[in-house]
Symmetry: C2
Subunit: 504 residues, 2 copies
Amino acid sequence: MLEMETKLAALKARLAEISDLDHAAAVLGWDQATYMPPGGAEARGRHLATLAKLSQEKFIDPAVGKLLDDLRSYEESLPYDSDEASLIRVTRRDYERAIKVPPEFVGRFSAHGAASYQAWTEARPTNNFARLRPLLEKTLDLSREMANFFPGYEHIADPLIGFADYGMKAASVRALFAELRERTVPIVQAITSQAPAEDACLKKHYPDAGQMAVSELIIKRLGYDYKRGRMDKTHHPFTTEFSIGDVRITTRVQENWLGDCLFSAIHEAGHAMYEQGVDKAYEATPLGSGTSAGVHEAQSRLWENVIGRSRGFWEYFYPELQKTFPEQLEDVSLETFYRAVNKVERSLIRADADEVTYNLHIMLRFDFELQMLEGKLAVKDLPEAWHERFQADFGLRAPDDRDGVLQDVHWFAGLIGGVFQGYTLGNVLGAQFYAAALEAHPEIPDDMWQGKFDTLHAWLIENIYRHGRKYTAEELVQRITGDPISIEPYIHYLREKYGELYEI
Amino acid sequence: MLEMETKLAALKARLAEISDLDHAAAVLGWDQATYMPPGGAEARGRHLATLAKLSQEKFIDPAVGKLLDDLRSYEESLPYDSDEASLIRVTRRDYERAIKVPPEFVGRFSAHGAASYQAWTEARPTNNFARLRPLLEKTLDLSREMANFFPGYEHIADPLIGFADYGMKAASVRALFAELRERTVPIVQAITSQAPAEDACLKKHYPDAGQMAVSELIIKRLGYDYKRGRMDKTHHPFTTEFSIGDVRITTRVQENWLGDCLFSAIHEAGHAMYEQGVDKAYEATPLGSGTSAGVHEAQSRLWENVIGRSRGFWEYFYPELQKTFPEQLEDVSLETFYRAVNKVERSLIRADADEVTYNLHIMLRFDFELQMLEGKLAVKDLPEAWHERFQADFGLRAPDDRDGVLQDVHWFAGLIGGVFQGYTLGNVLGAQFYAAALEAHPEIPDDMWQGKFDTLHAWLIENIYRHGRKYTAEELVQRITGDPISIEPYIHYLREKYGELYEI
């Protein structure tokens, strides 16, 4: 066994070096999205490409494969959920995937992503799809090339979906989405046939500094640890992790729309609390981060919506908000405000969409990803396809591409495929997790009225966060709820919450 | 020749990868000194160590040595100052130095530097030398270990001085410093025996935002390009370069002292304009940055003092400053302000010291570095030795270590030896360069009165900046002035400027 422990230590030393390279790249990515001056873009792409390539080279070193082989009997001698067995198992899964992709490709892919992201930050404000089109065409080529390193798939999107949501495929996501669509559309129709909620109170002038201050106050109270993180501004909010002790979030401010900064901050804080809650023992190993896009979005969307748009939450925080913006809110009742932040409407922007229509935005994007990868939808036709589908699903047409196909960073950051389904999986999983938390702690909603969020936070740490990548999403939901992934708790949640707000 | 061009391209590809790793580390270092939350410190040290170790491993790869050997005849066939010959020559010089240092040591050295820097940011404000003592002792050990990878030196500090100022040694610096001391001390005595200049106008309350805004306005006008840089706040101002397109500066603000932010910003902008001015063709090669600490400080101190504390400069900028701080400065005449920013006095803080006494601060530090490396001064005795020497040189005693031995970051960032002489070399070289610029363009001082700084900036780019590391400091000063390094222009400058301000 001593020999095995030595080999495991050797593996961990190699993994730490790889983790350091990846986290260095994360710092460079964060900087690119927050503070980097425009002149830095060209070299930054090269820096990121080099780091990605070296990390890949280090990981696919045959010595890593040899260590994993040597450790197989040791792994089998240990309990499945021991830290050691889990580390070996998850590393092997990553390794078997990584060895299929040449480092040269990884470097090229990373450099293209950085260049495309930079172009998007400049081209979106000026509604310039034409500038991004050749970049997006290359992204599609590279995404297909990436998928094709994994032959034997049922659908070309499967490998890419699997990167983000291990165990999921185009077919399983499609089936889940179809079921969800069938159950959601009648709710949307029932609500949108009624008079819309009044949300003028969110559309006054809210100065930047006040929005940032109140967002910070709220996410700290929820449990986001500022000693191990910080919040900056960016084009498209994201969370990034440099270590368990340094998990940063970003937000953006629209001074004429209170919803963006605040709910972006809560959303990203949800992601960040997950990363901050991972067991310190997993630092610098493949276990040391969240397990899948879906489980990650379950955390962010749970905090943003189930908590952050609940009556109890605002019962507690609304007086704080009124104190920050007395002129704007003194005449707005809590009930009016609560209804405003839960207004259901067919709208243009995914990130600002309500909980009920949100998944329709994701389904549109997911379908387009599949069609592009299948070669059935050309990049050049995407803007118009977007407008047509939007008309069909939402009865709306964006005035331009800026609020159409250019609104989300994801594809423009260098990957088409697997980047959107996690949001809807997150909505579904989040409701499942929350139902389990409520079963264990029925006092959670009442606690919120008093600004007490630590019962829920502690439950999430205990059952989800601390495990990092030890369990797959499937294992996690099974362990926690005893069931596989299911849309029932989510539908139940929507019907209950929106049944009280609207006639449905 | 085609074969040689292929080999040169192969060398450049390797060098670009190493440059990418080093610049990634620079981003991580910048982040650590500006925005990183405290929880990030532990992992950040490991990230930096890994990057330093990998960079060193890549550089000392025997394949690099082989390419350099193969390219020797090519280099000899080319003019000395061709880009190709210069690249091969400078790379060989770096390589021959690098192969003496094991990557494992480089990683350890880097990790210790990051940990020590972090501790200093926390311990200096609380005057806690005791906490830093064991770290500084380890720094001294590591610095000696580093020097001892280069046996055959005359003085143990020589290798470390040579890292920063190629061609200089303890003996040559000592000789220059002795000569300078002999010529400076009488000037200091002549001035300080007179009534001191009135500088109360600098010690009013100057709000942070105004100081930052006016500093930005000034450095932009001088020629620092914000599209290829930015300014943030830190504990101890520095300049860092991620590419020729991204050269960042930092400053710090004391709201009761106008001098710190403003002159720190101008000083760092001087460093940054040098890096921004390097020929783009040298990007991602060993030629792509400033040539030595001394030549670098020549730029920063030239802009900070020769320009930034000149009468013409303030003739132009003082109305802007008064506009920013009307209450504080409306009753302060330009002459009073000009005399205040040129007040000569024996004072505690190097970074705030006037041009005349400044070098005495450096000499003290330089002597202590030599004594520590020689083993004649123990770290434990350093605080008291500081106070004693300060008493002897300045007739002053700092109230604590905070404004004594803890005031400068340099030793606490992980290296004792070679980190201070560059400032004084810079004062000397800066005066030599400026004299040459004036000879070519006698209109420079008059231009300043009209806010025109581009004649000087263009001359510096043409004669110094664009060359990057192509020429050594010695070669550069010889090319520009026809002379070796000499203190005469500096003494002449001091006597002329301060002769007008004081009776000397």
